[in-house]
């Protein structure tokens, strides 16, 4: 094999699993170290710069970083990255001095943003400091989009949401709230220099053809609409017996909200097997903690009404069968349909985009799924100057994806307004710097905590179930936060190998706790090399670091998979052929030079 090209920044980036998995590429180990040092404000700002909503995401993020966390590969559970983020947010000091100044003198460009959700607000935040005049349109009375309407306040308190949303709106953003945009043409006619569409996926899926659906419509609700109505206090109660249909996070929010609105017997019914439910495991756990049973393999069949009043629903019992290609079909088991009593039913089976307001003579093309035709990188639509982001771009995802797209869209808008090539994008900021301070001294700590993942304490159930606004999770106290932060393996401190310094003394190979360093004859084919290591590198999603040919004709091969970044290879290296270098990878933001 050829030596690994470590000049490509993506090589080391990929080693920082959490950061690599994060759509916004937040430098996770960096801010976790700041939390361990008690520098909560700094940790918050590292997050704010990258993911815009640390307080919100520290409570509600889908956490793609956690399944990726290397710690989860060497023991049971990953670092509680998400809840550490919340610690930074909850314990920060005044941050006003760190917020970028908004120039008095604008740059003369006006941008319209449709939708004040995470994607729209991110574009506003990235562009306002550059002197753009930003106009945000939203049909709600406050900013936040789905973060406000779909996430119940017992998971995300209003104060947290308001403070992070207002931080952006206070950057001189012109808001047009309570204003549902009914025509893109009208917006385009206002001669904005660019338009960013982040209108989300606001249409909850229904079961319009299910028998009896419309006979009892007063008691059958569509999940996200119902949650929005709860948020804006248009609804304040629900029946005693509630059925929630669906297995995603919205279903979890609906059932838990129901428990707080008078639902005593709340049940969740899912078509598929329990283990393939779409909801995050922790949200399922939280629902079950609130005495909400989940019934798997129940396919809704019909609504039952009596004298115009909802009585319950019939479900067909199925089992999942997989064909040779792994394609799943739900096959009826043949058992009699199950009947569940219900006073109210909430349908939370997904959501769709809503683009009726975009006229079809504007040249803006949609694909066969009804989604706008976009350049994946620039997020540019088929109409120059019109960009998309968030759920409106590629269908419903999550907040952190919306933020990441917002950053990219802001870069595109900025380039577009300067008449530059959208594909000539600013590169990430990279730095690789030694952490060596002296003998046995490095500027990062390898004394990791071997404890299991700490559990975030919850408020008393009696209290939370009786108060819709009472936040359930209490967050880590600072002592626990420190211990949890010390579980982080510091994967951003890279093991950097310099061939021509190596004397092949084997010290690194011998000391490595996970035996991931090997000196061996090279192979042509990567899989052959992977298989001949001391412990074969069978996790193909993780790279191997292959050196150039050494003096003895062998190569050094390091399996990145379970490297603990403990630094002992560098510590025991007599010639500094190994060094522990801190890798900084900052995704480019609008305004950075290409």
């Amino acid at each position: 094999m050829k030596p690994t090209d470590v000049q490509n920044p993506e090589y080391y980036h990929k080693v920082v699993d959490c950061q690599y998995a994060c759509p916004a590429h937040t430098p996770v180990p960096h801010y976790i170290r700041l939390i361990a040092e008690g520098k909560y404000t700094e940790a918050y700002m590292v997050n704010w710069e990258s993911n815009v909503f640390p307080g919100i995401l520290g409570r509600t993020c889908d956490r793609p970083c956690e399944p990726a966390c290397r710690r989860g590969r060497v023991e049971e559970e990953p670092v509680a990255i998400c809840r550490l983020k919340r610690v930074a947010a909850d314990n920060k000091d005044d941050i006003s001095q760190y917020i970028p100044a908004i120039p008095e003198q604008k740059n003369g460009k006006k941008i319209a943003i449709i939708g004040a959700g995470p994607a729209g607000l991110t574009v506003a935040r990235d562009l306002a400091p550059l002197g753009y005049e930003i106009h945000i349109y939203d049909d709600q009375s406050k900013g936040g989009g789905m973060m406000r309407t779909q996430i119940p306040s017992f998971r995300l308190p209003d104060e947290v949401l308001d403070s992070e949303v207002n931080l952006i709106l206070n950057m001189g953003i012109v808001t047009h709230f309570n204003q549902y945009v009914t025509s893109l043409k009208e917006i385009l006619d206002k001669k904005y220099d660019a338009v960013f569409i982040a209108s989300g996926a606001p249409k909850g899926k229904d079961l319009p053809d299910l028998p009896g659906r419309w006979d009892a419509k007063a008691n059958v609700h569509v999940g996200i609409e119902w949650l929005a109505n709860v948020t804006f206090e248009h609804i304040n109660k629900i029946g005693r017996k509630v059925l929630v249909l669906g297995g995603g996070n919205t279903a979890m929010d609906c059932c838990r909200t129901s428990r707080r609105m008078g639902g005593e017997e709340v049940k969740v019914l899912v078509r598929s097997p329990f283990k393939t439910m779409k909801a995050s495991p922790w949200e399922i756990e939280d629902a079950m903690h609130e005495d909400i049973p989940i019934f798997e393999n129940h396919v809704p069949k019909s609504f039952v009404t009596e004298n115009g009043k909802l009585k319950g629903m019939y479900f067909e019992l199925v089992k999942a069968e997989y064909d040779a290609n792994g394609k799943r079909t739900l096959v009826p088991t043949g058992e009699p349909d199950a009947f569940f009593e219900a006073d109210d039913v909430i349908i939370a089976i997904g959501q769709d985009n809503r683009f009726e307001w975009i006229e079809n003579n504007l040249g803006l093309e949609f694909d066969k799924w009804g989604l706008p035709v976009l350049d994946e990188k620039t997020l540019s639509s088929t109409v120059p100057g019109v960009f998309f982001g968030g759920d409106a771009a590629f269908g419903p995802k999550n907040v952190i994806t919306a933020v990441a797209q917002g950053h990219q869209a802001a870069i595109s808008v900025d380039l577009y307004c300067q008449g530059k090539d959208l594909n000539d994008r600013p590169q990430p900021h990279i730095n690789l710097m030694s952490t060596k301070m002296g003998i046995h001294e490095w500027s990062y700590g390898n004394a990791i905590n071997h404890d299991n993942r700490f559990v975030v304490p919850l408020a008393d159930k009696k209290l939370t179930l009786s108060n819709l606004k009472k936040e359930v999770e209490l967050g880590f106290d600072l002592q626990t936060a420190f211990k949890e932060a010390e579980r982080c393996l510091n994967c951003d401190v890279q093991t950097v190998f310099t061939e021509d310094k190596c004397i092949e003394c084997d010290a690194c190979r011998d000391i490595c706790p996970t035996k991931c360093i090997n000196f061996t004859e090279n192979e042509e084919v990567e899989s052959d090399l992977r298989n001949k290591l001391i412990i074969p590198a069978i996790n193909d999603s993780q790279d191997i670091l292959v050196s150039d040919i050494l003096k003895t004709g062998r190569v050094m091969v390091k399996d990145e998979d379970v490297c603990l970044h403990c630094g002992l290879c560098a510590e025991r290296c007599p010639t500094a052929a190994w060094d522990m270098k801190k890798f900084i990878y900052k995704t480019a933001k609008a305004g950075a030079s290409a």
């Binding site: 990062y444 092949e504 003394c505 011998d510 706790p513 003895t552 007599p574």
Partner: protein
Amino acid sequence: MSYIKPKFIHPRSPKNKLGYSRQYYEGSLSTLCAGCGHDSISAAIVDACYEMAIEPHKVAKLSGIGCSSKTPAYFLNNSHGFNSVHGRMPSVATGANLANRDLIYLGVSGDGDSASIGFGQFAHAVRRNLNMTYIVMNNGCYGLTKGQDSATADHGSISKGGIPNTFEGIDMCALAIQLGATYVAQSFSGDKTQLVPLIKAAINHKGFSFINVMSPCVTFNNNAGSTKSYDYVREHNEALSSIDFVPVKEEITLEYEGEDLVELHDGTFLKLNKLNQNWDPKDKLSIISALQIAHDKNEILTGLLYIDNDSVELNELINTTEKPLNTLTEAELCPGVDVLEKLNQSLR
């Protein structure tokens, strides 16, 4: 950073027959210089014991004084250990061995410990064919006292101070063979593929097993002109054979045909792929001359040098008790008047 080794190991770390992972055979974190050859030898000992699935409590590791003699702290943390006086490890090993022949005795020493202050002790342990594995971590200098030439430093070898050694160096292997060692091997700390099987065979050999391991001192003897540096040993290394340790005879298949098999007393084998045809590991004369020729050509012969399969070890020679002394009961130690009377009669 503090000097700490994380407890986590590779989740797919293999386990040996006893259910232990390699980590169970490791020791504390080494305090020797980074890159010391001795650490590699410690790691090779760990590898050998792990792969042979030796019960750690069946091993006694012994040492004298010196950098090498510190290493028992860095391997086999779950075994017995005795760090003795400078050069006196052979006496302690002899005593322990006579008191309990059930343990595996693993002595670790250096060139100072064995070729200078303990030279006499070493000689007598060899000639008595004490049943032990004796590893000399040979770096040709006194590393612990800042790198003075030791008794094994080759004539003309240049120290870090720049001065060539004026004296002849002691060839520990030639010496051991002449003194009657029944298993003699030479290796290099930087070559585990050779060293690990040699250690395994040494542990399995009954009698005195001697391994002289070239172990560069990175701090005081790894300079140009030194004959014990990483570069010099690599360049002048002449392996007599490539070596495989074969735990049981059944594992020997046809592919080994045409290669030399050396049977050890317990039915295990060393498979040698001979690279030097003028040498037979069972022929003392051939190896003595091979060593002399290599010496004249500035070559370092490595691999198994000599083995005597018919070795009779010390306990058998002097007919000691088979039971460890600590398990002998009063009845066995004081067999009574009748036995005493018989004994007395036999001496009249």
